[in-house]
Symmetry: C2
Subunit: 275 residues, 2 copies
């Protein structure tokens, strides 16, 4: 399972990741991992584990590395949770590595943290290789469900959660509750038709992802509009619970605001899809 | 000189770029270019020219690609030039590919644009492969000097330029005039000792650079402080000269402001170097 610090889930269907090799290991540079994806043709990113620490790879795609996970985990969590007044119940779809749970657990206001991860192996592997992140499972507020996120939401009463964070590779189109946070800009127009509240796109840098950036879609349901760009509260530095988790490495209120400022080409794309 | 759309300058000293090959072509993926640098150990970025267009490589290091050059060229130019009231004389050190010149030439207020490029081959190769960028050499305001930037500055009277843009891989430590813009955060403390005015660090995303980001150091000399984060003017969309250059792809006033918002780990590094 582990080779040169790279933690892989075996590809169940035997799919290729586009390199012609069943996984990225050794296919390009011996002893390194290389990600090549049909979604991002014409580029490859190669890592040596000594530099990036342990790397979690699912079906040939880098999910997290110990070196730069902070940017992704902190932004995907605190962008939505600092945008609402008093989150009490939060659902995480995916996120079996525990990084998002770790960030959600910083809020002493939160009373219930449910996670629905489809792949038990991700949780088991992460317990072994990233034990600190998953120590959050001992937090009595956290409830782990193994199963399909869409099926899970179908049996949950509308309005159960104050925030739903989708930490998966692909967006789940049927989510209709609370604040949705997902990563794909491709569905901007469709999402706007589903969510009747505010819809906003943010981005941040994650060196190990293709192009070095990742986007976030923030959406709210009916009700008063949510000003996602201007957070309603800070993560209180004096909060005793938050302090036990160690300082944030990436997120702060300025970077929250800045993540909604888009380059001109991206503004034009979004504008063309919403008009 | 050209192979699969990759434009290379031969490495004069025969140095390795760290891959064990004299250049990055074919060393990792046949038909692709890979950059591996001793400055960024443990990672490699590989490009196929069909995706990134023509790529200019100097001594194994990617300088610009047709696909993402806009982010770098627009930010390194407009961050300083939108921060000062009425730039009339601008010097570019390096920048022989013409991309920065193209951006500087958008300002009708600018009367004189000098460029000092040490490597004539960069200009010649760029004329051949990026002819549109270097068509700016026909602008009567532009004066091309081939030579060493430090030597050039030694014979120029103090105060000649309103802005100096250093578009080179390594910062030039002896610059003391006007606004300096360079890329390296490593010299933050030293730069602060040389420049007695304002010193500020910004960053932006450039997918083909290591880690997908690049930093900019903005510095002013004695005189009233410069508020680099809040630009004093926009690039006037109604300016007839600017309009002939086509729309900006990346830069806008919001991204200007956002580029000075740093993640927490970077704020701590800069704070430790300046206190």
């Amino acid at each position: 399972m582990e080779e040169e610090g790279i933690v892989k889930r075996p590809s169940e269907g035997g799919e290729s990741n586009g390199t012609g090799a069943a996984d990225g290991i050794s296919a390009v540079i011996p002893g390194w991992f290389s990600e090549m994806s049909p979604m991002w043709p014409g580029e490859a990113h190669s890592l040596k584990s000594a530099t990036y620490g342990k790397v979690l790879v699912l079906d040939g795609v880098i999910q997290v590395t110990e070196r730069d996970e902070c940017a992704y985990q902190e932004m995907i969590t605190h962008l939505p949770l600092c945008s609402i007044q008093n989150p009490k119940k939060v659902l995480v779809i995916g996120g079996g590595d525990g990084g998002v749970l770790r960030e959600v657990s910083r809020y002493s206001s939160i009373e219930q943290i449910d996670i629905c991860e489809i792949d038990k192996m991700v949780v088991d592997v992460s317990k072994q290789f990233f034990p600190i992140w998953l120590s959050v499972l001992r937090d009595p507020r956290v409830n782990l469900h193994i199963g399909d996120g869409v099926a899970f939401l179908k049996v949950v009463p509308v309005g159960t959660y104050d925030a739903v964070i989708v930490d998966s590779s692909d967006p789940i189109g049927t989510l209709r509750e609370a604040i949705l946070l997902s990563q794909s800009p491709r569905l901007f127009a469709q999402v706007g038709q589903v969510f009747k509240g505010s819809v906003k796109y943010a981005w941040t840098t994650v060196p190990t992802y293709p192009s070095g950036v990742i986007g976030f879609m923030l959406c709210s349901t009916d009700g008063p509009p949510v000003d996602f760009q201007n957070p309603v509260h800070r993560i209180d530095e004096r909060d005793e619970l938050n302090k036990t988790k160690g300082p944030l490495k990436f997120y702060n209120p300025e970077i929250h605001y800045a993540s909604f400022c888009l380059p001109s080409f991206a503004k034009r794309v979004i504008s063309s899809k919403t008009n």
